[in-house]
Symmetry: C2
Subunit: 349 residues, 2 copies
């Protein structure tokens, strides 16, 4: 992108990012305070995703002002990257437990989910994205997906495309997802629609890259209102890394099979199947899957049955090849190389 373009990649003018210091979020304090009263709660637990943790103290202050003095408010210090990642320790030990910024993965009375919606205007960047979509006269079919942060504008986005002559295809995906059109880092079932192109509206490339991997036949256009940039998802670099990891792992003898203990990331049967089939496979249980934690294990390669994005996005940081269960099947010769596909999570827990 040239220096002369109105917005270069990473330019934060007129984006939600540039407003972050004075942005007003709606933390739904009334709902929280009501629950404290109803349950006669003495312990309140708050869990924020990484990017919002610094707002925790202010939210705690606001709650403390509105509840009796004997209520203890606790902030979860555990890393948090999704609704799959509830702090169950804190949840079990508090009367009211609030999870901010992610939509429910499973309905439960134990957790109050507070969605946090972006206030960035998505339509200027959607306007720009029309250059990358097929002209509606040629191909009017387009899928539309976004993340939990932009869900509050989803119907408007749909109408906007509709007004411009597109036939917009959306679906809810499966029961891991709360909303129609919603994507997660590990689930793109909402893009299983009858269209050759999908418009993703949202920040960053994390979600659309997964989407393009899961649906390699579709053209995935990224309208990023946070970084003010339109791109088309390109999985080439991503795929090369995956093939490289699979190839390296083909010589492995000793395999570490990771079972993730996070509530929404456990795939016990998949782990068990690998173990049953391979005498040189060892089951390792852990919550956070990090390079440091695996360095001390004397393994030739790892297969991660937990979050696929740790495997694919952080993969090169591990000291030994780290594969998804599907990639493992290729590396040990149970499947041909051309069956390499993106690892997705379905269902809840």
């Amino acid at each position: 992108m040239s220096q002369d373009s109105e917005y270069s990649e990473g330019d934060l003018r007129n984006t939600g990012m540039s407003l972050k210091h004075d942005r007003e979020w709606d933390y739904e304090l009334d709902r929280i305070v009501e629950a404290v009263e109803e349950r006669d709660a003495t312990k309140v637990g708050l869990q924020f995703p990484e990017g919002l943790k610094r707002r925790g103290p202010k939210v705690a202050d606001d709650i403390r002002e509105l509840v009796p003095d004997d209520v203890t408010v606790m902030l979860s210090g555990q890393p948090c990257y999704g609704a799959c990642d509830l702090d169950t320790f804190l949840m079990k030990r508090t009367d009211v437990f609030v999870h901010f910024g992610h939509s429910p993965m499973k309905n439960t009375d134990k957790v109050i989910y507070v969605p946090l919606f972006s206030n960035v205007d998505v339509f200027p960047i959607m306007e720009e994205s029309l250059d990358e979509l097929a002209d509606p006269d040629e191909d009017p079919h387009v899928g539309l997906v976004t993340t939990a942060q932009h869900m509050n504008r989803f119907e408007e986005m749909k109408s906007w495309l509709d007004e411009r002559g597109y036939e917009v295809h959306t679906r809810r995906g499966d029961d891991r997802l709360t909303h129609e059109g919603q994507v997660l880092g590990c689930n793109y079932a909402s893009a299983d629609i009858d269209a050759d192109q999908v418009l993703y509206v949202g920040g960053g490339k994390f979600h659309p890259l997964g989407l393009a991997m899961e649906h390699p036949d579709k053209n995935v256009v990224i309208a990023d209102p946070v970084n003010n940039v339109v791109t088309v998802a390109d999985t080439e670099k991503f795929l090369k890394q995956r093939y490289a990891s699979v190839h390296k792992a083909m010589d492995a003898e000793k395999w570490g099979v990771i079972f993730c203990t996070k509530i929404g990331q456990g795939r016990w049967e998949q782990a068990q199947e690998i173990l049953d089939d391979n005498d040189d496979a060892y089951l390792i249980t852990m919550d956070e899957v990090t390079p440091d934690r695996l360095r001390n294990f004397d393994m030739d390669a790892f297969v991660n049955t937990g979050c696929p994005r740790i495997t694919t996005d952080d993969g090169p940081q591990f000291h030994k090849p780290m594969l998804t269960p599907g990639e493992y099947e290729i590396a040990v010769g149970n499947k041909p190389l051309d069956e390499l596909s993106f690892d997705t999570f379905h269902g809840t827990w």
Copy 2:
């Protein structure tokens, strides 16, 4: 230490370290297999400290050979630094749970503790340590302490000193400790004895530095049979760091109060006291206390009610001052600076 000395610091000749690749440990497999049979177990969990994790697969192999095919053996991938640090997730989900390398902090039928004893010869380095101890004619009183790894030689060490004219003082400490003369990184009650000098026999400076901080009036001589070196514990650098952290924290307004959720590291009342007294204090709950996890919290300083060695030994790695509860009292002006002391843990859970 000069290049000409027989052993320089870090020289691994004739030490346990140099033998690590062919050392035979006794993993007490019979005891584990017996428990599997008695309990008709189908799930066995194994937890090793960091330095022994690479031995996990071999131990798993040995166990799998001796138990029925339908038994699943699992290795804990959680970090582990002590008996305070049981993998309770794995413990609750396995029929037999084995914790290697640490002595029991609390008696329980749920855990099989397998001690792992060093096979290094401690007497050559004890001989050298006599140069740093007072001559028995002048002061025969000496305390003797060691770690779980050398406990199997403790009575011999005692006799050895006794034969050389010393009156050896030992005690069990409190109920956090299993053995007479044992020290933990967070507990030096075994050195509460009537002697002005204490001989520590064991690897590294982690334990004796804590001991010297807890007992500043005593001369702590370190006989390190692993690195083949005798030194006297010097707390000056350590103390300077602590004073620097306390001084930096004196300007803090917002305090993060960490409650550690590890089974043997929770001090709820201490955390609650700080919160009750300080409106600008926020409770943060977490298991692993790491610089990464705290970076996202917008605090001016932290006080850690969990493992004191994270605070004192890893302190400089955190982006904001990290204090022990005692140091916090000094920083906020509740206590004078000269009351700075080492933070120790007592009791179990």
